[in-house]
């Protein structure tokens, strides 16, 4: 605003002036807001208002230039005092500009597979992270959610799973390379570009093997000065609570039929009336509120965008034990200091605080909800403590109580591993806090029109602290903690990067378009962390001086407490790269592009000899619709048709680090050369592998883009084949002749291949506008090679059940166990497939039970608007993936079970039941069988939002608001799945892919929101 003001002054004072005004409309006769009107050759300009009107004082004989992104620029002589203009869309480009690495490109010029997600797709959704915003919005991108807890992050998988290690893509936020985008508020995002094919990503070389996600935060649009305020309030609850047995059913199951709990024990401990619904005990309605306030202003010389966001997310677990609180701020600005010099800066700070409960694993609070029996009351009155608790209290064990001093219950029916959710909640306190300051500033120097030199400095400072407290408590008869354990951690991360690159773009003879880019990058990261812990050992040595939460800090550690400290060591990382790209197109018809990047890693990642990785790529495209023969074919309902292909190599370092290739000296042996005393010996810790190198992905992509019916229909399809080689394999068994433990080897290959389809349609019938868009992707994932001695690498097994494996010929981390054939009708015992027909069921019979990788993922969005009303419906789903209900354990037979199993159990001889008898015969094998593996396909309606925008006429009267919209929304509300557990969307990732081991489910949210513009 201020900038604009000053910019106008010189022109206004200089010459004789007169006032020109008018209205700017588009081809649909709609007024256009924000069109920039400039007196040619000066910096005198203005923008159109919400009614498309503008007024500008210009000098005599001036020429007015009207410009707007995506529209053809018009120039008009200022010959009259009223000049009305109709701007036409630039058909040449739905020519949106797409951010590519170290540059931008017109969308129609792309030769690679780049998907774009725009702010519209993220706006007003009750999502808290950018990752969640990507789910279902574009083909080829999968989101893996391991927890729905407030503050938890999902991981993104682009075109499958490329590594046995981490497959997280590279994030570049406004040019800053980062591994974590939790600090971004989705409301601050302008666009997200996903570089899916290797040629597009190859410019990021060694780190692009898992794809690249380029995020641009918002900038003020030229000519716009505005204040926006968005508010959102959501009530949330667990989306699906699996039904477990009530008291009557549980007695029937565990006592009467199963004999898992004896009648006498029931008689002794059951009061006959208790029927606890533990889900009801554990969950309540949570609330989430978000506020985003931003200011933006821009003119020809510069722009500024500043925003402040606040998020408070109190999850559905009862009380304030699962809360995520985040404040983020963004300041983006740029200014044309000289016609040839531009300065830009993007800065973001974030502060977050998270409190969470334990999830996943044996002591998952969520697992407890499903396993605790309904016969046990929630609390025992302090005046009437049952014998089994009193006995433990008498032994000096600690029990947690509620505010009245009543004891949280402990089941007398289950021997181990049952945990009252309240004990889970109050026995542990897990808090973390962090602060980030990140950004990038750059100067662009344009000495000649065709050349731009950019020097960009990025920085990222992160501070993270955590405090975990385990308070004395008794979990069950064999697990008790009579003492305090405190663990606290502090970690600082400093990162900076400096990138310099030159872009060259020139057109010769109107048809030969040449572009080139060359640059360097250097980055450095330093981390420093200290972790400490204090722990007691018994009820008499609790570890701290006073059993009071106010004393639960290191300062109050007793002399006899166990104290540990680690870290305190500065760790450095650095990398260096050279890169370049050349492109040529003839008449926007034939496109070729090639890029190359050389990356060097520091010694902690790779040995000196293998430090450099070289990543080439090439791509080509052909816009058939621009050919004369095509134009002659009279198929003018096709407005754009293009085919393209690309090939490239990318690297990945996800499995590398910590000098894992190095052979170092270890002194773990000794020998006595006398009758007393020893001499220490030393030996190489491992063989060393100085040939260790980057994991390399090689990808081939073919695509077709089609737009029809005056661009109302847009369709694109891609086929890709991505082979990742040289995965880092550890624990390799070698020939004995090697004589030492083998260092990690490059010894695994993974293949991902699939099709991706995107289809959209938009049209307007009178006041009714509608848009439909959908995407659909297929994925085939297979491990094609691992080191011969490692025939099968075991991953996570959840508890003792179905285990994930990495094995050649199978999808990555597939589920393996016994194939469950059903129930023996005679006795209700399970029948497993004796795959080798040797008459015994043992390890050799285990086989593939499923894979968590979906064959198909899809999503679609419907946007409808009529006058002031708008409706968005967005849904997504997966097909062909499996999920394992990994909660039951063979050692926990007295645990509650799902109603799903109960209703389908075997009860009488001769019955053809789906699941085994209540006595849980052969249960140890059963929990390792496909009986617990389910089709994880789901369909989720993620958003139904109805909004109303207050008519302009009404707003104009207020003279304050430019725009006002209110909306209500149901988010993640409806789920369709056959999975009987909590949430088919949530399971373990990494080497436990698809195991649901008591993970925190996602929530559904009813949301109310307001969008205001001033």
């Amino acid at each position: 605003m201020v900038l604009l003001f000053f910019a106008c002054i010189p022109a206004a004072l200089a010459q004789e002036t007169f006032e020109v005004s008018g209205t700017i409309i588009n081809e649909q006769n709609e007024p256009m807001i924000g069109v920039y009107v400039l007196e040619k050759g000066t910096s005198n300009g203005t923008t159109s208002n919400i009614d498309g009107k503008y007024t500008l004082k210009v000098s005599e004989n001036a020429t007015l230039v009207f410009s707007y992104i995506g529209y053809i620029v018009q120039e008009r002589l200022a010959t009259a005092s009223v000049i009305n203009v109709t701007l036409r869309e630039d058909a040449q480009a739905l020519d949106e500009v797409v951010v590519i690495g170290y540059g931008v490109q017109k969308k129609s010029d792309l030769t690679g597979a780049i998907s774009q997600v725009k702010s519209d797709d993220l706006q007003n959704r009750s999502i808290t992270t950018v990752e969640d915003g990507l789910m279902g919005k574009t083909a080829g991108v999968q989101i893996v959610t391991t927890s729905g807890a407030p503050g938890a992050q999902s991981s993104v998988r682009i075109r499958g799973y490329s590594s046995n290690s981490d497959s997280t893509p590279l994030y570049i936020v406004d040019g800053l390379r980062t591994s974590n985008i939790a600090y971004l508020d989705p409301a601050d995002i302008e666009s997200i570009e996903i570089l899916k094919d290797a040629a597009s990503a190859a410019i990021y070389g060694a780190q692009a093997g898992n794809g690249v996600i380029l995020i641009s935060t918002k900038k003020a649009a030229e000519g716009v000065t505005r204040i926006n305020y968005d508010m959102q309030y959501s009530i949330q609850q667990v989306t699906r609570i699996p039904e477990v047995l009530n008291a009557k059913e549980f007695i029937q199951y565990a006592v009467t039929e199963g004999g898992l709990i004896s009648q006498s024990r029931l008689d002794q401990y059951y009061d006959g009336t208790t029927d606890t619904d533990w889900a009801n005990v554990a969950f309540e309605n949570g609330a989430m509120q978000r506020h985003n306030l931003n200011f933006q202003g821009a003119n020809k010389s510069g722009s500024i965008f500043a925003s402040l966001s606040y998020l408070n997310n109190d999850g559905p677990i009862i009380g304030k034990q699962d809360v995520h609180d985040r404040i983020t701020g963004t300041v983006n600005a740029d200014y044309n200091i000289k016609p040839w010099l531009k300065f830009s800066t993007n800065n973001n700070f974030a502060k977050f605080e998270t409190t969470r409960v334990r999830e996943g694993g044996m002591y998952s609070m969520l697992g407890s909800v499903m396993q605790m029996d309904p016969l046990t009351p929630v609390i025992y009155s302090k005046d009437n403590v049952p014998a089994h608790i009193q006995a433990l209290i008498d032994m000096g064990h600690a029990f947690l109580t509620d505010e009245n001093g009543d004891y949280y219950s402990m089941s007398p029916f289950q021997e181990t591993n049952n945990v009252n959710p309240y004990i889970m909640r109050d026995g542990y306190q897990q808090q973390s806090e962090g602060f980030n300051l990140r950004g990038a500033s750059s100067i662009d120097i344009t000495p000649w029109k065709t050349i731009t030199f950019t020097s960009r400095l990025g920085y990222d400072f992160t501070s993270y602290t955590s405090y975990n407290l385990q308070w004395p408590h008794t979990v069950n008869t064999d697990t008790n903690y009579d003492y305090v354990t405190i663990e606290a951690r502090n970690n600082d991360n400093k990162y900076w990067q400096w990138e310099n690159f030159v872009n060259y773009n020139e057109t010769f003879r109107e048809k030969h378009n040449v572009s080139a880019m060359v640059g360097t990058s250097f980055s450095s990261r330093t981390t420093f962390g200290v972790t400490g812990s204090v722990s007691g050992s018994s009820a008499s040595n609790i570890g701290i001086s006073k059993l009071d939460r106010n004393y639960a800090y290191f300062a109050n550690a007793t002399g006899t407490a166990t104290k540990q400290v680690s870290g305190g060591e500065k760790i450095n990382y650095a990398d260096l790269a050279y890169f370049g790209r050349v492109g040529y197109n003839y008449d926007n018809k034939y496109f070729i592009q090639a890029s190359f990047r050389a990356d060097a890693a520091d010694l902690s990642i790779l040995p000196f000899q293998k430090r450099w990785g070289y990543f080439p790529s090439a791509s080509a495209g052909w816009t058939i619709s621009r050919e004369n023969f095509f134009k002659n074919m009279n198929v003018n309902w096709i407005s754009h048709l293009k085919i393209r292909g690309s090939w490239g190599q990318n690297g990945s370092i996800s499995g590398l680090g910590n000098y894992m290739y190095a052979s170092t000296i270890t002194t773990d042996v000794m020998y006595p050369f006398s009758e007393s005393g020893y001499q220490v010996g030393s030996r190489p810790s491992s063989t060393g592998n100085y040939n260790l190198q980057w994991e390399t992905s090689e990808q081939l992509d073919f695509g077709l883009d089609l737009r029809m019916f005056k661009d109302r229909l847009a369709f694109s399809v891609d086929w890709y084949k991505k082979e990742t080689k040289d995965l880092i394999m550890t624990s390799v068994v070698s020939s004995a002749v090697v004589g030492n433990t083998i260092s990690p080897l490059n010894a695994g290959n993974v293949l991902n291949q699939g099709f991706e389809f995107d289809l959209s349609w938009k049209d307007k019938i009178g006041d009714f506008a509608y848009a439909l868009s959908g995407n659909f992707s297929t994925l085939k994932n297979e491990v094609t090679y691992i080191y011969p001695t490692l025939s099968r690498v075991a991953g996570n097994s959840g508890g003792s059940g179905v285990t994930c494996f990495f094995e050649s010929g199978y999808p990555i981390w597939y589920m393996r166990g016994y194939e469950y054939l059903g129930v023996d009708p005679s006795d209700g015992s399970p029948i497993f497939n004796d795959t080798n027909d040797d008459g015994v069921i043992n390890d050799a019979d285990k086989t593939m039970l499923g894979s968590a990788i979906p064959d198909v993922t899809y999503g679609f969005t419907i946007n409808l608007s009529y006058k002031g009303f708008d409706l968005v419906v967005f849904a997504n789903g997966t097909y062909g993936n499996d999920i394992c209900y990994a909660v039951p354990r063979s050692t926990r037979i007295q645990a509650n079970t799902l109603k799903y199993f109960y209703d389908r159990r075997w009860t009488t001889p001769g019955q053809n039941a789906e699941y085994i008898a209540s006595s849980l015969p052969d249960y140890a094998n059963y929990v390792q069988s496909s009986a617990l593996v389910f089709d994880g396909s789901y369909f989720k309606i993620k958003q139904i939002q109805l909004g109303y925008t207050v008519p302009k006429k009404l707003l104009d009267k207020t003279r304050i608001f430019n725009r006002a919209r209110v909306y209500v929304s149901l988010d993640d509300f409806f789920v369709f799945t056959e999975y009987p557990g909590f949430d088919p969307e949530v399971s373990m990732s990494g080497n436990g892919l698809g195991l649901d081991y008591g993970q925190y489910p996602t929530t559904r949210r009813a949301t109310f929101g307001i969008n205001l513009s001033f």
Binding site: P447, G519, A662, V669, Y671, Q679, V738
Partner: protein, 514 residues
Amino acid sequence: MKIKHISMILVAGVLAFVSCENMLDIPQHSVSPIDTYYQIDSEAEEGVVACYAALRTLHTGFGGLQDLGNLLSDDVWTGGGNHFDGVYYRLNDYIFDAAYGSINNLYKNLYTLVYRSNVVIENVTGESAVMKRAVAEAKVFRAYAYFYLTTLWGTPPLVDHTLEENEYMQPNSNTADLWAFIEQDLTEAINSGALTEKASKSEKTYRVTKQYAQALLGKAYLFQKKYSEAATMLDNVIKSNLYGLHTDLSGIGTPLASMTEESLFEVNCLNDRSQSGTNNNFKWTFMGLRGEKYSYTDASPFASSTFGFVNPTKDLYDDFVSVEGVDGYRLKNTIVTREQMINQYGTTNIMEITDNEGYWNFKYRILKSHWAGYFYANNTRIMKFNEVLLLAAEAHLQNGNAGKATEYINQIRTRAKAPAVIGTVTMDQIKTESRLELCFEGQRFENLVRWGDAANVLADQGQRNPALQTDGSVKWTSYNDPSDCGFKAGKHELLPFPDTEMTVNPNMVQNPGW
């Protein structure tokens, strides 16, 4: 316009400047890299200490090198709680296969010793006395490892340096090359002048000595039937006059008589429970009497919670008797009979004991006085002077010098208080003498194979096994199908290469018959 061109040049300079590759050279904390290690005396010494530790591993736990040699011989029955206690009966019965764990471990541990020796030989390049000694000792260790790899497996891969990743799948070597390599290593070590030598018979040394290297080289020659070279080399040891026979046999295999003048090389263990991993060797616990099968009085010298493996055969006992009679001094200090157990050593009751004919190992008895709850520090004897004399006698006899051979055998007979050989010694007498002197030391199997006697002597292994009854009688049981067990000529002369090895290394060819 000028400014922007200047700035352009400036930034071009900057672009070129960002080639700070040395900033990537971030050293690892808290470690020493191998390529700069072993350059000073203390580090060179550390390297060779690791070889000694690897040698110890070869003899640690039941199923090590010597146990294997014992179980594969006609000197012992497997023993234990019953015939099928553990998997050791498979060796004694000759029904083991390429998956047999102890054989796999032994193979792996021998190559670990080769590797650690290679590390020293490759990295210790200095000329100091300590460094030269380290290299010389490492060569002896490497030769030691290859001696067993060659004699037990025939054609194992010859690994003479630490392997790079692309060399992990080594093919079989051939026996002649292996022997040449062993000879070369030992010759170089002996000629280096860097190996330790004792000053006198009474001096103790805990290191590899020049004389041990010579003895091992002599043994290697003898195994190749290079009798003349063997005789010369072994005579070097004898003539050094630094070693002799220990006259008192009463504690010969126990901690009471370790590091005597007879010892050329022992794996040293200290009676220090605080370093149990270094000093304890579980194999002794296996070889002691099976406690629950006996009732003792305080007069018993035996530790009572041991496991009862490796029981002497009557066949061995009878060989003793044939040489020195039932009351032989050496016999009494090697094998104890049922009568002696009851009358002499405070045993009041002996229950039924499988794999036992009424004879127990006295040479390696577990001394109650030194045994403390599964901790027992007793040195493993790698080479003793009596073996040197036996090897030398054989070499001389085969080389046509029967007189010298007889002289050496009679030195042993004298120490054993057994009748001297009358006239000149025969090969059969040397074989028997060797069996008696070296029994339970794991030598018998390899000797039988090299003499060509194995197929004959070991053919019936596993056919039937004894069980000592409470009344002292012996009951025989056949545990195996007769056609499946026993030594098979053309097969059992060599052990199988471990099956894991065959899986991970496609370049390996399995030994015949396996």
